[in-house]
């Protein structure tokens, strides 16, 4: 009777059931079910699929953000990077490349470099991540003034278009991309020494350094990853909207942080998992969608949105005590 709970497998099941990521998944499911009763159409397959597709953009941005937060930092430049990615991609179209892959790779390289510069500032200049990435965001605004509106032709990049619109086997390509990225992220995070170094750096950077963790290069890598995934999100969001514009990335800054924390990752670093961020991202788009269909004045909607996040935080976001 009680036997299975004490068996090794049973313990693992219990551990999963009581883990933060699972809790967040359960909340998402509960909200979906409740909302389906409240609003017809909410629970339609197409709608849920659309929510997950939207979640993919937040999820991609939040993938890098999760790395950075676990490593003890924070990246406030993700929104600007998403915008830079979506704006600069149309500027790069090469006739020689019919697939559209080359410009995408070039843009991802660019955003990764932006991330690496963040990392350089944090690791070598020892500027606090919040300041470094905030300054970087300001910087990128300047860059945007130069490049924005520079493209006289709409970018018809086949790869980008496919990402934003295709549905192989009924599943949006963006969601497939997210699934692939999630698998890689979870593997890197939890099954490689690199991932372990990140957790160590976040929990206690000094002890990590004294244990031989190459702090500088790991920091660089973490911010580079964040630049990369934000760039990827920019490509996806460009595909979904058919057109980039200044401000296209703005919603993703706070959303990425909220998804990370709602997923149970500690904002203090050293603890957490992307497995929680994934449902966290879906939870956020779900709440936004719910608020949209509620008929209320803007003020009340805003209050409702904040209260929902706060309520969910009570369920899933408790900080563990530390010393």
């Amino acid at each position: 009777m009680t036997g299975w709970k004490d068996s090794a497998g049973g313990r693992r099941v219990m551990a999963i059931l009581s883990s933060r990521p699972f809790l967040t998944v359960a909340i998402v499911a509960a909200v979906w079910i409740a909302a389906s009763f409240a609003s017809r159409g909410f629970g339609a397959y197409g709608h849920l699929r659309y929510l997950v597709e939207l979640g993919a953009v937040i999820g991609l941005v939040a993938a890098g953000q999760t790395f950075v937060v676990i490593a003890g930092g924070i990246d406030l430049s993700v929104a600007a990077i998403v915008t830079v990615s979506a704006i600069s991609l149309p500027l790069l179209s090469w006739q020689a490349d019919p697939t559209g892959l080359a410009p995408v790779l070039a843009v991802l390289a660019l955003t990764t470099i932006i991330g690496l510069v963040n990392g350089l500032g944090v690791a070598l200049l020892r500027v606090h991540p919040m300041i470094m990435t905030l300054a970087m965001a300001t910087f990128l605004q300047g860059l945007l003034i130069i490049i924005a509106g520079g493209s006289a032709v709409t970018a018809e990049n086949p790869l980008v278009h496919w990402l934003g619109n295709a549905r192989p086997a009924g599943i949006p390509a963006g969601v497939l991309l997210w699934v692939a990225v999630s698998m890689i992220v979870l593997t890197v995070m939890h099954a490689t020494p690199f991932g372990a170094r990140i957790f160590a750096m976040g929990a206690n950077p000094l002890a990590a350094a004294l244990s031989g963790v190459p702090v500088t290069s790991t920091t660089l890598a973490v911010y580079g990853i964040s630049g990369f995934t934000s760039g990827l999100a920019g490509v996806l969001v460009l595909g979904m909207n058919g057109q980039g514009y200044v401000g296209i990335g703005d919603p993703y800054l706070l959303a990425s942080i909220a998804a990370v924390v709602l997923g149970g990752t500690s904002i203090l670093g050293g603890l957490g998992t992307y497995a929680g961020t994934i449902p966290g991202a879906i939870l956020l788009v779900t709440i936004t969608a719910l608020i949209t269909v509620v008929n209320a004045s803007p003020g009340w909607r805003s209050i409702l949105f904040g209260s929902l996040i706060l309520g969910l935080l009570l369920l899933s976001g408790r900080e563990q005590a530390r010393r």
């Binding site: 609003s39 017809r40 909410f42 924005a148 057109q243 200044v246």
Partner: protein, 326 residues
């Protein structure tokens, strides 16, 4: 000293060539960039005429408090004219009054300030915008049906005025039901997201009253992606929307906030400084885009940024005519 210079704030003690300050609220968006383009072009012309020698540009990065500080700096550096897109309809009122008291010509355009201590305000009529858009839509759906209303950000006068402008028409047609309203930034992505959610919640939608920016493009994309039929929709002259309009064969109507408001503001400032009388409020008639002239606009599309706005043509004659109106 010309004691009886005509326009407000003008004392007549300033001599050409003038320094013009452009106090922008946020220079990064494409609309702003295009507007800056028209201002710079106008300033070039005025420079050639020996009327202007310098254009000073500030960018408040979206922060109305910073804009106040920058206008103060313009006053401190004694510019001759300030052209201004206000970050808040109330915040800069006092600093503008200070500038006015110092004899600086102030031309406020696009986003207006609730003060009359300016030389002139230049704008389209937001209320009329809402009214005309509502008229078109209600007409297009045959005077009855279910509609969505997409509006710009909450707490901002322009979006509020446009929305209020639509009220009378809506009231007059009790058979028109408003299913839902949204407030988002004037951008494609948030509009697309919101409309998609509303599509699922509302199986029947007959029309969309969209009150500006790129909101309409987002709505069209949402309908398209969810495999729903396009419905009559209003909008603005965003290039992406105009192209979708043509591509999807929409039943549509659009107006615009012409970017040349900027050029016109610079022109007006110089006219005022030169002692000409300028009206306290220059109402820019709303240029209308419909199926009759959409092709003219699209023919010029390649001259405009892909994420930009295709504005109506302008020249000095137009400016003169606008200034002459009473």
């Amino acid at each position: 000293f010309e004691a009886n210079a005509a326009a407000k704030c003008i004392k007549g003690d300033r001599k050409a060539p003038y320094t013009i300050g452009w106090a922008n609220i946020y220079s990064v968006p494409t609309w702003m960039k295009q507007t800056q383009g028209t201002i710079e072009a106008e300033v070039e012309t005025l420079k050639k005429q020996g009327l202007v020698d310098k254009l000073v540009v500030t960018d408040a990065q979206g922060d109305a408090n910073v804009q106040i500080q920058q206008i103060q700096s313009m006053i401190d550096s004694d510019v001759d004219a300030i052209i201004l897109i206000a970050g808040s309809s109330t915040a800069p009122a006092r600093v503008i009054a200070d500038a006015c008291a110092k004899g600086i010509a102030i031309i406020n355009f696009d986003s207006l300030v609730d003060t009359d201590q300016v030389t002139a305000k230049v704008n389209t009529d937001s209320s009329q915008w809402g009214d005309q858009a509502a008229k078109f839509l209600i007409d297009a759906i045959g005077g009855k049906g279910k509609i969505l209303i997409l509006n710009g950000p909450a707490g901002v006068s322009v979006s509020d005025d446009r929305r209020k402008g639509a009220d009378a028409e809506l009231k007059a047609h009790p058979d028109v039901t408003v299913l839902a309203e949204t407030n988002t930034p004037y951008n494609v992505a948030p509009a697309q997201e919101a409309v998609t959610s509303l599509l699922f919640a509302n199986p029947e939608i007959d029309g969309i009253l969209s009150l500006g920016g790129a909101l309409s493009a987002g709505a069209v994309l949402a309908l398209d992606k969810q495999g729903r039929d396009q419905v009559p929709i209003t909008g603005e002259n965003a290039r992406q929307f105009l192209e979708l309009w043509k591509e999807k064969g929409l039943k549509s109507w659009a107006t615009m906030q012409p970017n040349w408001l900027g050029a016109f503001a610079a022109y007006t400032a110089v006219q005022a400084l030169e002692g000409k009388d300028v009206p306290a409020f220059v109402k820019i008639p709303l240029p209308v885009i419909d199926n009759s002239n959409i092709d003219e606009y699209l023919a010029r599309a390649k001259d405009f940024p892909a994420d930009g706005y295709i504005y109506s043509p302008y020249d000095e004659e137009l400016f003169k005519k606008l200034l002459a109106q009473k």
